[in-house]
Symmetry: C2
Subunit: 247 residues, 2 copies
Amino acid sequence: MSTQTPDSPELPSFETVFAPVRSQTAFEETLERLGTAIKLGLLAPGARLPAERELCTRLEISRSTLRQALTALAQSGHLHAVRGRGGGTFVTERPPPRDPPSRAVLASWHEACDVRLGVELGIAALAAGRAKDHELAPLDELVGAMDDMAEDFAGYRQADVRFHIGLAEATHSPRLVALATEAQGQMTDLISHIAHPPEVLDHANAQHAQLLTRIRARDADGAVRVMAEHLRGTELVLAGLLPGARD
Amino acid sequence: MSTQTPDSPELPSFETVFAPVRSQTAFEETLERLGTAIKLGLLAPGARLPAERELCTRLEISRSTLRQALTALAQSGHLHAVRGRGGGTFVTERPPPRDPPSRAVLASWHEACDVRLGVELGIAALAAGRAKDHELAPLDELVGAMDDMAEDFAGYRQADVRFHIGLAEATHSPRLVALATEAQGQMTDLISHIAHPPEVLDHANAQHAQLLTRIRARDADGAVRVMAEHLRGTELVLAGLLPGARD
DNA sequence: GGTCAATGGTGCGCTGCATATACCTTCGCG
DNA sequence: CGCGAAGGTATATGCAGCGCACCATTGACC
């Protein structure tokens, strides 16, 4: 009786509650986790992964499942395995060319930006309250490094990712670190095929510096404001180059 | 070679990349989705759920899996089923007593607050830019209703939930709505067993009103600031009453 | 008052993911 | 030169999820 007649306009909350439930398999999640870690440079080229038998324990999955993911990443050229004692699974030195963003990613890029906004604003606010000096020092170095990389987008982007994830770590909230990592992964998918003029990168990096200043001053509101502006920058670039601008 | 020696202190990012992979089953996710929707009042007492055969289509799961969840919720007293034509599955009129927060929830309440902070800050910022008048009007009514409910925490809380979720809907970002719903669910688990003096609720509701004012003025920074303060209020209450304060 | 259709309730077999376990192959280090 | 650490392979088992067919109940409609 209280359900609407079929095809009637439904309360928006109903759409959310009754939206499709799709559970990722362990294989899929593992593949994505390792894949983005490599693409983001969290696992540097040449780095050696823990041994399979150890890794599957950490991930709390079976070795067979882990190997499915490793094999897939090896075939796509992101990993290569070396047998025998002293061997292991290594990240490829020269990363394979990135795929252009899939249709699905392009369709929902606005959503991805929205979530990232939330995550990063929360990180800015919390980091301002909780960051310790020794956690901020490495971020200074990254800002310095990015200053010299305005011509090298790949290098810049990698430092950028480390900066944002490092900031997330300064909140001491593992969940936020995970969300930030995921968000950065999606952003990288979107922006890695886009031209970034040095002026834009310099401006963005100036905001990184401002952000650190606000955080050191324990100025949460200021940090959030700078972060919001920082993200708006990226979003404007995307809005100009990708389809489906909302307003 | 670039892996650390065993048991050496590892880079924090490694902890995130190699954190356990645990995929929720479809049954678990369904149970949680429906359960929190009921507990949050998104599915009002007495409301009728869509027929099983339709619901399992929407959720994109099999009827067997759906029924596992429905059966569990029926046994816990949240739902009751009526057979025959014109029957269906209904939300219990008098909700069963809430369980006290589980140990796991209590252990990670700080994390939950952190994520909620991010989500809600993002919502505040985006709603200020995107909310339409007709989406804000119902929120005015909720604020008015909450004004009269400072003595009735259950009623107040339900309006509160609707307010925050309504705000999320004003961002037009389904993903944010889902995250907000999840966050509200976790908050409800935490605060429903806590005494809330009327003054606290009145103060919180005044912030709701301010929030709407800022949003109408398209003042994103202001909205974010009010929201941050609003959430800090809840967090302070929790910090005083729950174990494991961080700093 | 009888029929029928919409609803929840039940059972069964199939498929595929994930696990656990054991064993093989390679190859550097001592 | 052999031990041990690493990747590579094979197989059996469990179980979640699916799809389907069918039963039982009961109000609505003629």
